[in-house]
C-alpha cells in the first residue's frame, strides 16, 4: 500500500465518520450547488422581503438589531400586506400566469407536430432538423427578440408583406400588444418544448401504432389513445420548461409588449430600479416563487404518474 493510498483511505474513513458515504458524496455536489446558488440567495431575498425600506445603503432595515437589552429580530409582513392592498400586484400575477399558461398551450400546439415529424423522420434528415431547432441559441436572445420589433412594427416586414400581397390595406397593430408577447414567447421557448417532446416521441414503438391500426382504430383514434397518452411525460416536461420561465419573463414583455402588458417580471424591475423599494420587490419575488412552486408541484406529480404508466 502506497502512502497516498493510506492517505486516501484515511480521508475516506474520516469522511465516513462525518456521515459521508460514497453515495453521499455524489449527492453532496448537487446539494452544495443548490445551497450556494439557490438557497442562500433565496434566504437573502426572504430577509429583505421582511425588512422596511430606508433611504440608505443598502435601502432596507437590518434584520438583527442591537438594542439596550441585546440582539433582537426586527421583521415585518407589511410588504406582503402591501402586495394584497394594491391590486396592481394581484393583476400582474394573474396576468403573468395567464400569459404563461396560454403561451405554454400555444407552444405545445406548435411544437408537438414539429417534434412528431422530427421523431418520425430518418437520419440524416432528423439530425439536420434537430440542429435547426437549436440553431437560434447561437445568437443572442436579446437580439432575436429585438429583431421581432422590426418584423411586427406598423411599417415592418410583416405588414409590408401583407399589404404588398393585397391581403390587408391598413397595417395591423401587433407590436406593443399581448399578441406580440405571445409571438415572442412561442418563438423563444419553442425549442424547450420540442426537445423533451422529441426525446419522448422518438422512443415510441412503431409497432404499437401498427397494433392499434390492426385492431381497427383510425389514425386519429390511434393518436388520441396511444401516441398522446404515451407522450404525456414529454408534454409535461416541455410544458414546465416553458411555463416556469415565462411567468418571470421580463425581456419579451418589455420589448414587444405595450404599456398594458402587465407581467410580474416588469413589476419587479420597476420596484427595484425605478422605485428602489427593495423590500417590496423582494416580497414580489418570494410571492412569485410560491405562485410557481404550487402549480409545478402538481405538474411534477402528474409527470411521475405518467411515467409510471408508460
Amino acid at each position: 500500500m502506497s502512502l497516498s493510498d493510506t492517505q486516501n483511505g484515511r480521508t475516506a474513513s474520516l469522511l465516513r465518520k462525518m456521515g459521508f458515504s460514497g453515495r453521499g458524496l455524489v449527492i453532496a455536489v448537487p446539494t452544495l450547488w443548490l445551497l450556494v446558488f439557490f438557497l442562500i440567495p433565496f434566504l437573502v431575498v426572504l430577509k429583505i422581503s421582511v425588512a422596511e425600506p430606508l433611504i440608505a445603503r443598502p435601502p432596507y432595515s437590518p434584520l438583527f438589531v442591537e438594542g439596550p437589552d441585546g440582539w433582537s429580530i426586527k421583521a415585518t409582513l407589511s410588504n406582503y400586506a402591501y402586495l394584497l392592498e394594491d391590486s396592481l400586484y394581484i393583476k400582474a400575477y394573474w396576468s403573468s400566469i395567464k400569459i404563461a399558461f396560454f403561451s405554454t398551450i400555444l407552444t405545445l400546439l406548435v411544437g408537438y407536430p414539429m417534434a412528431y415529424y422530427i421523431a418520425r423522420s430518418q437520419e440524416p434528415k432528423r439530425s439536420l432538423l434537430l440542429l435547426l431547432i437549436v440553431l437560434p441559441f447561437w445568437t443572442s436572445f436579446l437580439l432575436r427578440v429585438y429583431a421581432w420589433i422590426g418584423i411586427l412594427k406598423a411599417n415592418g416586414t410583416l405588414n409590408g408583406l401583407l399589404i404588398s400581397l393585397g391581403i390587408i390595406n391598413e397595417p395591423l397593430i401587433i407590436l406593443q400588444t399581448d399578441i406580440a408577447v405571445y409571438i415572442g414567447v412561442v418563438y423563444t421557448y419553442l425549442p424547450f418544448m420540442i426537445l423533451p417532446l422529441y426525446a419522448n416521441l422518438v422512443k415510441l414503438d412503431g409497432s404499437l401504432l401498427e397494433a392499434s391500426a390492426d385492431l381497427g382504430a383510425s389514425p386519429i383514434s390511434t393518436f388520441f389513445r396511444i401516441t398522446l397518452p404515451l407522450s404525456l411525460p414529454g408534454i409535461i416536461a416541455g410544458s414546465m420548461l416553458v411555463f416556469i420561465p415565462v411567468i418571470g419573463e421580463y425581456v419579451i414583455p418589455a420589448l414587444l409588449g405595450g404599456p398594458d402588458t402587465l407581467m410580474i417580471g416588469k413589476v419587479l424591475w420597476t420596484e427595484f430600479f425605478n422605485n428602489r423599494d427593495w423590500p417590496v420587490a423582494s416580497a414580489v419575488a418570494i410571492a412569485m416563487l410560491i405562485a410557481v412552486v404550487v402549480p409545478v408541484m402538481f405538474l411534477r406529480m402528474a409527470q411521475t404518474k405518467a411515467e409510471e404508466n408508460a
Binding site: S207, E210, A211, S218, I226, A310
Partner: protein
Amino acid sequence: MADSAIAAETKPWRSGTAEPFIRIQNISKIFGDFTAVDDVSLDIYKGELFCLLGGSGCGKSTLLRMLAGFETPTQGSITIDGQNVAGVPASERPTNMMFQSYALFPHMSVEKNVAYGLLREGVPKEQAMARTAEMLNLVKLGNFAKRKPHQLSGGQQQRVALARALIKQPKLLLLDEPLGALDKKLREETQFELIRIQESLGVTFIVVTHDQEEAMTLSTRIGVMNEGKIVQVGEPEEIYEHPNSRFVADFIGTVNLFQGRVDVVAPNEMRITGTEAGDLITKPIEGLSAKQTVSLALRPERISISREATSAANCIPGFVEEVAYLGNLSIYRVNIASGKTIKVTLSNLDIEGEPITWHEDVFLSWNAGSGVVLTT
C-alpha cells in the same frame, strides 16, 4: 364454435379441388433495390395452422406484413375469403396480427388491451367486457385483468397478445415469431396451448418462425422460405422425408449430404459415383441424365451402426470419433475413409448388448430407399 371437421384432419390441400381460403399470387416486395419477397404464390385453406419457416432476413415478416396490410406489395395480389384486399387498410382487413414484440399498450391494463379491438369496432362496453373476460379465461389469464403489461411475465404477456389478436375473431390470424421470446421449456408447453386454442376457435393461423422444430410441432403445413422465395410447401412429414433441395434438407433437421454423379440407372436401383463415401446405391428418380450431378440426403436415424459388416445395399467402414448421450437417443459422429464425418442417431431403446463407444471401428449401413436423391 369450430367447424366440426378441422383442417388438421381433413387435409383439404390434398384433394386438389378444395377452394383455398387465402390466395397469395405472385407477390413481390422490393425495398429500394433489395427484393425482400420474390414472386411468392401460396394457397392456404380454412382452419389451417400454416408455418412460414426460414432463416433470419429471408422475408417471412415482410410477407406477413403484406397480408396484414402494413406493407403494400410491389407486385401480385392477395385474396382473403374471396375478397381481394389490395388497397384495403390494415384497420379494415379481416385479419389480426400478433406482433413479435407483442406490442402491448403499456399504459393500458390487460383487460383494456384485450378489449381494444372490440371497443374500436363500436361493440357496447358491457358486451365487450364480457367477451374480454371470456377470452382471458381461454388464455388462462382471468385473474390478471387489472394488471399492467409490465407487471406480467413474458409468457403471460404472450398470452395477452394472443387474446388481444383473437378477440375480434379474425378470419386470419398472423403470428410473427409468437414463441420467439420464451425460454425453451415454456415454448414447448405453449406450442400445444397454441394448437389447442387454434383448434377450439377454428381460426386460420399463419405463423412465422425460424425454428424448424416449432414448425414441425405446430403446423398442418410448412412453407420453407429462402431469400424471399418459397422453396417448398408441404406437410411436416413430407418436408422432412422428401425435401426437394439441399437447402430444405439441410434446414429441416440434421442431414448427411453426399454429392456425386449419376452412373447406372436400373429400374429399381441407381448408382451415384464419386461421393465422399464412394459409390452409393439408391432408389432411382425420374428425369435424370447420365453423369448429372446429384446429392443424396440421408437422415442420421436412417443409418444403422454395427461392429460387423452387413449385407445392406450400402455398407461402409468408419471410426467412431464421438458419442453424445442424450438420454432417449445417442448421437454418433463417425469418420469415414475420405475424412468426412457422418452423423448417426440411435434410439437407446434399440441398443442390444454392449453399446458401441468411442474409438471403435464400425460399419455404417443403409438401404437403397433410405436416402433422398436431390438435383438442386
